[in-house]
Symmetry: T
Amino acid sequence: MKILVLNGPNLNMLGAREVDKYGIMTLDDINKELKSLADTIKVELEIFQSNKESDLVDKIQESLGNFDGILINPAAFTHTSVAIRDAILAVNVPTVEIHLSNVYSREEFRHHSYIAPVCIGQICGFKEDSYLAGLRVLTNYIKK
Amino acid sequence: MKILVLNGPNLNMLGAREVDKYGIMTLDDINKELKSLADTIKVELEIFQSNKESDLVDKIQESLGNFDGILINPAAFTHTSVAIRDAILAVNVPTVEIHLSNVYSREEFRHHSYIAPVCIGQICGFKEDSYLAGLRVLTNYIKK
Amino acid sequence: MKILVLNGPNLNMLGAREVDKYGIMTLDDINKELKSLADTIKVELEIFQSNKESDLVDKIQESLGNFDGILINPAAFTHTSVAIRDAILAVNVPTVEIHLSNVYSREEFRHHSYIAPVCIGQICGFKEDSYLAGLRVLTNYIKK
Amino acid sequence: MKILVLNGPNLNMLGAREVDKYGIMTLDDINKELKSLADTIKVELEIFQSNKESDLVDKIQESLGNFDGILINPAAFTHTSVAIRDAILAVNVPTVEIHLSNVYSREEFRHHSYIAPVCIGQICGFKEDSYLAGLRVLTNYIKK
Amino acid sequence: MKILVLNGPNLNMLGAREVDKYGIMTLDDINKELKSLADTIKVELEIFQSNKESDLVDKIQESLGNFDGILINPAAFTHTSVAIRDAILAVNVPTVEIHLSNVYSREEFRHHSYIAPVCIGQICGFKEDSYLAGLRVLTNYIKK
Amino acid sequence: MKILVLNGPNLNMLGAREVDKYGIMTLDDINKELKSLADTIKVELEIFQSNKESDLVDKIQESLGNFDGILINPAAFTHTSVAIRDAILAVNVPTVEIHLSNVYSREEFRHHSYIAPVCIGQICGFKEDSYLAGLRVLTNYIKK
Amino acid sequence: MKILVLNGPNLNMLGAREVDKYGIMTLDDINKELKSLADTIKVELEIFQSNKESDLVDKIQESLGNFDGILINPAAFTHTSVAIRDAILAVNVPTVEIHLSNVYSREEFRHHSYIAPVCIGQICGFKEDSYLAGLRVLTNYIKK
Amino acid sequence: MKILVLNGPNLNMLGAREVDKYGIMTLDDINKELKSLADTIKVELEIFQSNKESDLVDKIQESLGNFDGILINPAAFTHTSVAIRDAILAVNVPTVEIHLSNVYSREEFRHHSYIAPVCIGQICGFKEDSYLAGLRVLTNYIKK
Amino acid sequence: MKILVLNGPNLNMLGAREVDKYGIMTLDDINKELKSLADTIKVELEIFQSNKESDLVDKIQESLGNFDGILINPAAFTHTSVAIRDAILAVNVPTVEIHLSNVYSREEFRHHSYIAPVCIGQICGFKEDSYLAGLRVLTNYIKK
Amino acid sequence: MKILVLNGPNLNMLGAREVDKYGIMTLDDINKELKSLADTIKVELEIFQSNKESDLVDKIQESLGNFDGILINPAAFTHTSVAIRDAILAVNVPTVEIHLSNVYSREEFRHHSYIAPVCIGQICGFKEDSYLAGLRVLTNYIKK
Amino acid sequence: MKILVLNGPNLNMLGAREVDKYGIMTLDDINKELKSLADTIKVELEIFQSNKESDLVDKIQESLGNFDGILINPAAFTHTSVAIRDAILAVNVPTVEIHLSNVYSREEFRHHSYIAPVCIGQICGFKEDSYLAGLRVLTNYIKK
Amino acid sequence: MKILVLNGPNLNMLGAREVDKYGIMTLDDINKELKSLADTIKVELEIFQSNKESDLVDKIQESLGNFDGILINPAAFTHTSVAIRDAILAVNVPTVEIHLSNVYSREEFRHHSYIAPVCIGQICGFKEDSYLAGLRVLTNYIKK
């Protein structure tokens, strides 16, 4: 089983920024934990981060036929990108949306997601554990 | 570590109802899986379901001093109960909100949760796996 | 044919209260008229009133396999109860929503019903005749 | 007792159209059932259909002094005609609003009625039975 | 100078209806007063009432080249007719909107007019005096 | 008969400002026309302008027992002053609201008036003729 | 192939009115261009204009079995007529909505169409070319 | 004079929870102060707390004929319970709504009360003094 | 302890106006009752009324260092004055907002207060008793 | 005449995706049809697709002086890109907006276009025929 | 060149109040800095502060012919005064709106300005530097 | 002191476009003026323009540790980019938002900024002077 892990804008800054919201881990730390879990549950990962909406759209398009599922933290694009939504609709690969912080206890505009309605489901608020839990439920979903 | 698992109205009907939205498992099936996971990760569970808002409020109040965390699927009360929100605020016990279905791909009124902003986070859309993932992230959160 | 008749909060006060809105009949008077019509059209009735949302949810759940239809005046719960809506969805027993008063000539918040969209239809404004007409159309619907 | 039965736009197409929403009966079929019930309960009917808003306004105006009640299915005009509302207000003849389909489980704009607040009440969702139930409750209302 | 006086739906019922809102005068009474004023200020009137939106649209269209101004009480169509608005825009004949009652102390939906923004101005609340004042200001406007 | 004529903020600038919206007359010019009409119809006028909301409130309060009617152009206060509304409610002297320009063809916020619902009616769009027409309908109203 | 071309209110005034919005052509000019194109692509046309909503509803109803497609410029009715929408739904004849002007650069209320969601598609802004393009795409659609 | 004091959900947790919002007193402390004041002003009290909406509805219904007034802190039910509103309407016993915290400086959803419009008035923000002041104004109201 | 009592616009008209909403007492009557209570609880009062927003702002500014608390009935300014809100914020003197009538059973625009969120709390609906209760809770607050 | 044809995000996936909404043609198929039409009407085309908003902005900027018109299917950017709108405004080259699907029968958020108000017009719903019709009307517009 | 500097309500309290929002400078301190800059750039200043809306309106009116520009910090009146907006429109003197604090990171109601749309531009958030920058850009604007 | 100057999409077109809104200067002209001022006040500048949202996000991220402040004209991204907002939050470098035109006198959607609430402040409407004033206030802010 192959899973594509996508990270949206500013996630490359993790650890360097608002620690109370996002935790002290860097994206590299999270990636290590993710890979360790992937090894345990025998899943192959490709991990990718970009500040470009189009990079994420391209990656989602390329997942068609190459990946069994997508784990995506769209970050700021959650609330603004119809293009990412349409890409997920186009490839129809099972997708899970995750967030480090609890978006529902933040600004009003972060409560709306263009992405969630076209995903299997959403996980938010558990910092790095959002990734780990997301990987587990996604791989379980694909197995069924 | 002791975790209180709370289930809101109509969840006792699981398996007997809308299978495409909620899956074919009964609540008992889910409970068995939850307990099995709890054994593995060495957590004690108390599981409770009620159609009464006040039962859930009472249980949350009683968790103060007796439980280390709450895993709650408030079902219909997600969208209507300020009383449950206030109970969680009052006891200040770490709480995770879960849903079987992806509420963001259903009716507009199901997109708003009174509960989520006072929880650590929210997990929705993964059927029984929402419970299992919820238990994992909650116990991890408490450990840290 | 067996029909479950459900009455929501404060309907036990009928006759003692706002007569211009609800008429001078008590709930007992209405029940007598309902039973008399039920005898005529050869339908068995169980009639129930409660001020508790959970009682109504429980009754609706129990109707599964035991009743052919539900006639419900949800009263105040019309505008606030997602739990009753979900219970009707869960049992999928044909249901008719009735109101004594014309909710559309009252306060704005009474114009919205969580229940109506999951019912066969709605009847409002005809005082006790809302019940009698509701029983007739419900039994006709079941026959077809 | 004389009752005016009014049918709004496109109801002349009944039976030829969306059968799942409106049933397979034609307007003639419904009229026959209505007349049969009218005979039984000794009520005189005049039945009228038009695609013109002004025809319905004229008919309502003419009801003053000539009819004891109005049974109206305003169809599309329900949501757009202040003129019909004002006509009912002007003649002050007891009026019942009916609909074949359950407007509350259809498009958002069909949830609002300009007509309902100036009627005794509203019945919707029971196909031809909406007419029959409407005739019964209207005649009962007039008798009282 | 020739002025076209247009009256919308249900105004033919004046005097027979809600006297507190519209006064006890009939449309004929108002017309007599209007004609008397017209004679005094040497203006020729054509007065027309219809319950049909299209009649009013037709009349407005015909005013082009035949009338110097339009005095219109659109009644219910005030709030629903884009067609009348477009007709006034098309002929570009100076138009004054009048109402018998004070629409701003009635239902919310009567506060919005599709017609007012394409008129010189609006007069409301003075019963028959709305017509007389309207005729005066319209003829003054045309003279200037 | 004594009429109080009140002018709100910036009306002292008339003639010096946006001529296309308000005409080229100064407030003095309008006052002269108003007085001339008042002489003709045998009405006594007191005319007052202020940029202060409280001056207008004071004047309205003093009208109680001293004036038979109020003709008010609240200008900017139309859209912001609950105090003027409450003063009119308190003295209960018949009041007519007038505007030089057609407020319904200007900015959205000018479409709402706190004053209109507590007046007999409103006249807008006819420049100085709004005042003259207002005086006529107000005195007629008081006579009846 | 037979196509019904329907024109809504005030389109008979074309050429006589707002030339910057609608162009200098009259409806007759447009009809000639349409017929010329129809001859070229071997389509039979019936062209009809009315200021009456009910005329358009009647024509749409009559199209059932008599026409293969409808090309409609509903003009003002675009924004107000549920009756035309329901008629199109009832006959289920392929329909294309066209507008001379770009409704999206005009008043806010012109951005909403009751008709568009029940059509194949919409074309707006190209003056007479909206008709010609509409005829082409409609006939192509029917052929496929 | 007999007064019924009602406390809604989570008020049994007072003193154990968010001290900055609600003060450090327990509900028992407040009750003692209330009873002391009641003795002073010679009023009989019955005090009741419940987390159940239906308990509060039942108590309000029972007040009819047994109590002269109701002092209610509906807590979370303030914002969600039409049933409590309807119960107060049904018994028509003078009622005062009180809150410990200033609801207008908290979350937006706490600014709306279903209960306030059917009460004599509302007091909020003064912690235990809200109860004492409420008892005083209620008994004064009943005396007059 | 020194308390500043502020009364907003039109409160000087009390007793002369809408008796059902505000009671038959004049402001002088209320002031006498207030002073009598102030004597009893040993508080010094300065009482001030103005129809001018700026007078109230000035008084609030002057309270800094001169008064221990402010009791304010902002009347119409409740809903429109950010300046009074900012003045209270600037001096940071404990303030209580009071109203004679129950603003929540009146027009929609009276449900919103710019002042309440920057006060300790709000009391409304108890006529003169709103003042007396307000004085009590304010002085208690200051003592603590 | 030179026309720039721009395609927004995910249109490179055409044919591989939701066939009921977008048809079975690939973008290459559409391009072939477009070029064939371009040859017929003697127009030169440059066709470009990108998932990057900035690519489309760059291309629009470069069109200044190099192209006579733009045919754009902004896809997801229709609803989110002010940058594309501003680019069109900046170059002021005649532009036509097209869509494969009928955006007005899809999700609410697809009903709003940032692009349409700055274009000549919009065509939607006709699959590949939207492109062909768009090319025709655009070239006709440029010729005039 | 002569510039009128206007300060709205509560700005006389600067330095005595919320230092984190407005800085520790008093209005006198700011005025000194302003005058110093004015000397440098050879501009004559008149500086004025008032808590009265009408004072500001009067000053703006007097600026006509006497001042070349207005620098205004309307403070609380920013969000509530149509009168000040209308005064600026009436005199048509170039005006710059300034704020000490960043209004866009404060309460929602502070995000809307009645004044900004009739000014050259707006500067907010830079404490006393908002004044200095405002004076510079205003004088530059006038020079051009 | 080092300042990063960022320019959003289409600003490279300055001077070539809508001159009434943006002035006749090109971005190069503005840059020259900015550098001249920077020399005077001894500040080092890096100036950057891009039509890509991600370029701006990258540049903001790189500013961490390399620049003392950011001067940004986000242009169209002001209203659509949560990613830029999040980048500013992540680096927490003092930022000033500037606009050439007065966004508050343009389309409604330009009144909302995602960027302003995370900046020190905002300057708009003064064409190139917005940049110069922005540089001054930013450097002053950093010095303090």
